[in-house]
């Protein structure tokens, strides 16, 4: 039907249409439209046979990649109903709506909304809900009369009249079942399990168990299912930035109320603006500590809304909380106590504001790291991470340290002496006094193993640094080092400026 609408020259609305693909050199029907189906055509049929039955059949080439892309777009649209949407190629979607029905006031209303949305987009669909994906799949695709809602525990009754194919068995298993005269699931259920397993293999038993809910169905969702999901739908699409911000505040308040009722807080909040064109624009806010402060979230989202493209309008917003952890109820007058820094929890709002505006990697605390090299002796930890201990004791270290030491021209009269004069960034500095050297070797465990002791020695000399603190005539202090040692046969050692003292 979509194909007919997109390419009107292909077939009139009432003309039968099918897409065709070549399988092992034989052209077969890939999909048929309702008009063709009503004349007895089905997918998988050879084109020649189909033409014999229905000479007026119009055909178009199948486009499996385009179909998959379309399915992905549809999945993107469908996640306004639940974050947990899985693709079931070539033409199905699986939605985990557990915990989402209440947002519509019940399963019935959710399904009606889903069907209405699909109809608006011109997509013919069969929808079934069930306690298991296997049962929902079987009913949606094989039930003669489609009642979308399956009463709880009603899976078995609904599966009984359905054909064995509704269990998605492998082709050989299906053939074997047909050879045994087993056509419906009811017939399978009537057989002893042992006999069934012996004759048709364990695969079918597994399918049956998963459809009945006695075994788990592993499904890869595009986003994990979560009960911490909320939704607001609008009668009229909204696009104004103020309206979007208000919607963000409203939905944050709703989800935070639920989090508060459960004594929980989330650390990552994904706000999705679902557009009328089926796409979605997302804004993500992370918090350093679990949070359920709706006003703060609204404020953090407000800073991101200007980057949201509402397209022709937003018809629904959803908010998902991830990293949900227990969070004790706020006690008035008492600050949260976090391990390591009692007063640091009070920082969470400003950390979150800055991290969401600048990026998480732009905020850090410095912490010691085992290394001889000064530039590697510091690592970054999260601003609210537990204390990592003090700096190791040792010689004086500069206030400013360059990530990469800068080459300088230096004149040292005597080997092993600090320079008397050096040029850095084009300015000549006369050394008035100096301290040192402090010898710092490169970490041997980072170097590749070297075969000969001579090479080892040469390498060691080359990777040795002699650091000096020097003061120039203005009183400015520099941390400079000489790389390598003086040797008659080697090239002269190089000097670097690595840091500055105050």
């Amino acid at each position: 039907m979509l194909l007919k609408r997109r390419r009107p020259g292909l077939a009139r609305p009432d003309e039968p249409l099918a897409t065709v693909e070549a399988v092992d050199g034989v052209r077969r029907l890939a999909a048929v439209d309702p008009a063709a189906a009503s004349r007895g055509l089905r997918s998988g049929q050879k084109l020649a046979d189909a033409r014999a039955v229905l000479p007026a059949l119009k055909i178009a080439d199948a486009d499996p990649r385009g179909d998959l892309a379309g399915l992905v777009r549809l999945a993107e649209w469908a996640d306004r109903f639940t974050p947990a949407v899985a693709l079931d190629p070539p033409d199905g979607l699986l939605l985990d709506i557990a915990g989402c029905q209440h947002l519509w006031g019940g399963e019935r209303a959710l399904v009606d909304d889903l069907l209405a949305g699909l109809a608006r987009r011109g997509i013919p669909a069969r929808v079934a809900t069930a306690a298991t994906f296997g049962a929902a799949w079987a009913v949606a695709r094989h039930a003669e009369e489609l009642h979308p809602l399956l009463p709880p525990g009603g899976e078995r009754d609904r599966l009984v009249p359905l054909p064995v194919a509704a269990l998605r068995p492998a082709a050989e298993t299906l053939d074997a079942a047909h050879r045994l005269g087993l056509d419906t699931i009811g017939q399978l259920l009537a057989m002893p399990r042992g006999a069934l397993a012996r004759r048709l293999g364990g695969e079918l038993i597994g399918r049956l168990d998963r459809a009945l809910g006695t075994a788990e169905e592993p499904i890869l969702f595009r986003r994990p299912a979560t009960p911490w999901f909320d939704r607001l739908a609008f009668a009229e699409p909204i696009a104004d930035a103020d309206d979007l911000a208000r919607a963000a505040a409203d939905i944050a308040a709703r989800l935070c109320t639920r989090l508060a009722d459960a004594d929980r807080g989330g650390q990552r909040f994904t706000l999705a603006f679902h557009r009328v064109d089926g796409g979605a624009a997302r804004a993500i806010v992370t918090t350093a500590l679990p949070s359920r402060d709706a006003r703060r979230l609204a404020k953090l989202f407000r800073g991101k809304i200007e980057t949201v493209d509402p397209g022709f309008g937003v018809e629904a917003v959803t908010l998902t909380a991830d990293g949900v952890e227990p969070l004790a109820p706020a006690q008035p007058g008492l600050r949260h106590v976090v391990s390591g820094g009692a007063d640091r929890a009070g920082l969470a709002p400003v950390i979150d504001t800055l991290a969401n505006r600048l990026g998480t990697e732009r905020l850090w605390r410095a912490a010691p790291q085992e290394s001889h090299l000064p530039e590697r002796a510091v690592r970054r930890i999260a601003p609210l991470a537990p204390d990592a201990g003090p700096w190791p004791p040792g010689r004086a270290r500069p206030i400013r340290l360059f990530a990469r030491p800068e080459a300088i021209e230096a004149t040292a009269p005597v080997p092993d002496d600090p320079p008397v004069v050096f040029r850095w960034r084009g300015i000549l500095h006369r050394v008035r006094s100096a301290d040192g050297p402090e010898r710092i070797g490169r970490e041997w465990w980072r170097e590749p193993a070297l075969p000969s002791p001579e090479a080892e020695k040469g390498k060691e000399a080359e990777t040795m640094r002699d650091y000096y603190r020097v003061e120039d005539e203005a009183g400015a202090r520099y941390w400079i080092f000489r790389e390598g040692l003086f040797a008659a046969d080697a090239s002269p050692p190089r000097w670097f400026l690595h840091g500055l003292f105050g």
């Binding site: 400003v350 504001t353 600048l358 510091v378 201990g389 003090p390 203005a474 400015a476």
Partner: protein
């Protein structure tokens, strides 16, 4: 009248005078522990919960080393009250070096920004947070309006702000070197000074410090050394105001 009573009456009078003078509500101060310095401030020490400006001179304006060395002992004292934010545009503040001035790694939160506007916004956010004791931002230029905003944020939360003027390497000196109207409660001009090298090796580092503006107080100029457990900075010598002016003028001519 006992001495204690007299001094408390005098203190109250001073406060009233200060407020009448247009100064902010007198609050907490950080005493330097030296009358020559403390006497320059109406409250008898560096006023807290407000904005201070540190203007390094010469090459220090690019390296930011002497300015940081001056700010560090002050914010390290305040870190007892809460964490300190340091907002950088060039990520080169070295934790072990800062710890030598008493600011440990668990009290220092670093924020790297791309430009002055981001630095000002981040500084204001940090100052608006009650849990923050002090915040330092390395900024090229601070306008009067931005300074007022920062000062208001300080007064709201009680946090103390230090704007450390710094400009990129190799750039000509900008307006930071000139006297501009400022909202800051104090404005310091800092440059390195030769240490007293009376033996082999380096002596204690020294700075030539000029307090060129103190709201409700007076100006001054000193040669200072790093302090000790009892005081953040130690005055080695007091300079005549004229000498400091002359030094500044020389720098301008050179720069």
């Amino acid at each position: 009248m006992s001495t204690g009573l007299r001094s408390s009456v005098l203190d109250r009078l001073r406060e009233r005078l200060h407020v009448l003078d247009g100064g902010a509500r007198p609050g907490k101060v950080l005493p330097f522990g030296d009358g020559r310095l403390d006497g320059c401030f109406p409250g008898g020490g560096l006023p807290l919960g407000t904005l201070h400006e540190i203007c390094p001179e010469g090459l220090d304006g690019e390296t930011g080393a002497a300015g940081a060395a001056f700010a560090l002992p002050l914010v390290a004292r305040l870190a007892a009250e809460g964490p300190v934010f340091w907002i950088l545009q060039r990520d080169d503040l070295h934790g072990p070096g800062a710890a030598a001035f008493g600011l440990g790694p668990d009290r220092l939160i670093l924020v790297r920004v791309e430009k002055d506007a981001e630095a000002l916004a981040a500084l204001e956010d940090a100052l608006n947070c009650d849990a923050v004791a002090a915040a330092v931002a390395e900024i090229g230029r601070l306008g009067l309006t931005a300074g007022r905003r920062l000062k208001l944020a300080c007064e709201r939360s009680g946090a103390t702000a230090f704007v450390l003027h710094r400009w990129p390497y190799g750039r000509p000196r900008r307006l930071a070197g000139q006297r501009e109207p400022s909202a800051a409660a104090s404005r310091w001009r800092v440059r390195t000074a030769p240490s007293a090298a009376d033996g082999p090796g380096l002596g204690e580092p020294r700075w030539q410090v000029a307090l060129e503006h103190s709201r409700g107080g007076r100006e001054g100029a000193w040669i200072m050394e790093a302090g000790d457990a009892t005081r953040p900075l130690r005055v080695v010598a007091e300079l005549a105001a004229g000498a400091a002016e002359a030094a500044t003028a020389r720098t301008r001519a050179a720069g």
